[in-house]
Symmetry: C2
Amino acid sequence: MLKIIKTEGNARRGEFVTPHGTVQTPAFMNVATCGAIKGAVSALDLKQIKCQVQLCNTYHLHLRPGDEKVKQMGGLHKFTRWDGPILTDSGGFQVFSLAKLRNIKEEGVYFNSHIDGRKIFMGPEESMRIQSNLGSTIAMAFDECVENPSPYDYTKKSVERTTRWLKRCIAEMNRLNSLEDTINREQMLFGINQGGIYNDLRINHMKEIADLDLPGYSIGGLAVGEPTEKMYEIIEAVEPYAPKDKPRYLMGVGTPVNILEGIARGIDIFDCVMPSRNARHGQLFTWEGVRNINNAKYEVDERPIDEHCDCPVCQNFSRAYIRHLLKSGEMLGMRLAVLHNLYFYNNLTAVIREQLDNGTFTEFYNKYRNILGVRI
Amino acid sequence: MLKIIKTEGNARRGEFVTPHGTVQTPAFMNVATCGAIKGAVSALDLKQIKCQVQLCNTYHLHLRPGDEKVKQMGGLHKFTRWDGPILTDSGGFQVFSLAKLRNIKEEGVYFNSHIDGRKIFMGPEESMRIQSNLGSTIAMAFDECVENPSPYDYTKKSVERTTRWLKRCIAEMNRLNSLEDTINREQMLFGINQGGIYNDLRINHMKEIADLDLPGYSIGGLAVGEPTEKMYEIIEAVEPYAPKDKPRYLMGVGTPVNILEGIARGIDIFDCVMPSRNARHGQLFTWEGVRNINNAKYEVDERPIDEHCDCPVCQNFSRAYIRHLLKSGEMLGMRLAVLHNLYFYNNLTAVIREQLDNGTFTEFYNKYRNILGVRI
């Protein structure tokens, strides 16, 4: 359940209670693919960058170190030392984007590991068992994320199968949560809306999965190459059919502007590798736009990345130092850049929550919807 | 000057006062080659790993970002945000180990940058100017570090030139420290003892440079391939001729056992890339010996790297997690391993200081001289 504190237009200010703590929404989830955020960021760093939720990737952890090993270690919380909420994805997206020679059947997907090529099978039950072993707070349903573009007929059949898979996920999770030795017996399952770029398929699917009364719903299969305007259009199309009292999670999105636009359209939760990935390449987010720290003009610039930022990086280090470190291939450059960018994303949602609390979100939206994307 | 608080055999417990704070000796210096310790460790991390002194490499910083740029940024302290003592090496060792096509003349060394191949000249005056621009607490004299083995005659001529270079270093540093716009006008110069593996050349050279009454002396050109016993023999040979009231620094050494043995022979200060380099490859130092965390037996080991260690890594993370991160190529694995190893080195010298304070160093030495090197 999402407790709605306030709304402004379609934007929602909420509180999402989980067994590992309450998430203030709108919220950004910090992606820790293999149980660690890329850029040498540990659980000890997460509080100071305002992280509320960590997302870990089921596919990666299944391959290495292996979900059964993580279970032996007491689950992801104990393993990574992060005691707040953790969401695991279903593994589906990675199976469809990373794995080789995949073969989709009604029972699930046969594929080869991208690490050592060994044959693996993953279906709804396997995904639930892996996520149960990982002991995450929130598990995601196993779905097929179709390529963009995909023909209407293929997409329709795929969505129908995704619904059948969801029902199998629910049954398997119920079974797992009833077992004595399950790490998190209160694990929650979010359904995933699919349907490619076809509004009618999207809407029908959202209606179907809404009827299943899950603790949360996500919109998947977006930001995979379709125009940004199409993404916004789909969000607008399905939003009326997403349960009001459940959190809505837009998967794998996006830029600060995408997040602002998503919130304006009723999205509560986001995740994206962009802040950490772009940081490692010197693309730093600020309240004035996106700064390319590799630019020669920052060579002797003593100012912080963002003069309006309270993050531990901006409180201590200069643009010149961070630029030097990145140019020299020093890991510390990546760490500082990643810490800043993640703080920026977490803080952006914190500021938006304040705006919603104060009833000033629309004003904020109008001011920042262009600024945040500017290249400076 | 080194204030000697206590001695036990040849081992010395001292205090070395610098313009950037007092160093308790014996001490280990943490190597931040390009102005950052490899492994994503920042100045903000250094206090919690008991770091007293940071060492930066003149050659690397001269090439990138350029020492004049660092001067524009207010010197290394302001640039890296470390406010304790910083020692810069002379650049000599890197010129002789990294640079290509070097040509040694009386005036200095002509060489090609290992980054972009451009021709560079560095002599005693250039080294002093670069280190003055960097604004370090302690500058090292520009010397030639001869290859091992080098013939006696070549080594003898090289040492004579190194002495002539040292006198030019002293003159140039005096000039630089008298200039208004010099960042650290109290910069100290340490002389470097050379002489290859020839005890008589080593002793003669130490006598010559001792006469120049510098604030500190180092022994250079060791741990370059000679047997460890030969290194200890050379330390024992020159130690009686190193001024008692000045810190003695054994450059680029070494394992925990080497450090223990060095201290037992009257050395006060050490530096080495070993703790950070080995950490990145999973070789972790503990009070029971050297642990290879890549070993399969640590796959589900919940214990910390070292059960007797108070470092922030051992207080929080398991062997299994660190092993998983290193195996997955996650930067965080390297950061945690480096933090632990550097803490181990800094703490080792801290514990040895305590032993010296208590008059129990000999007992400690006998107990640990073998244990610390064991592979576990």
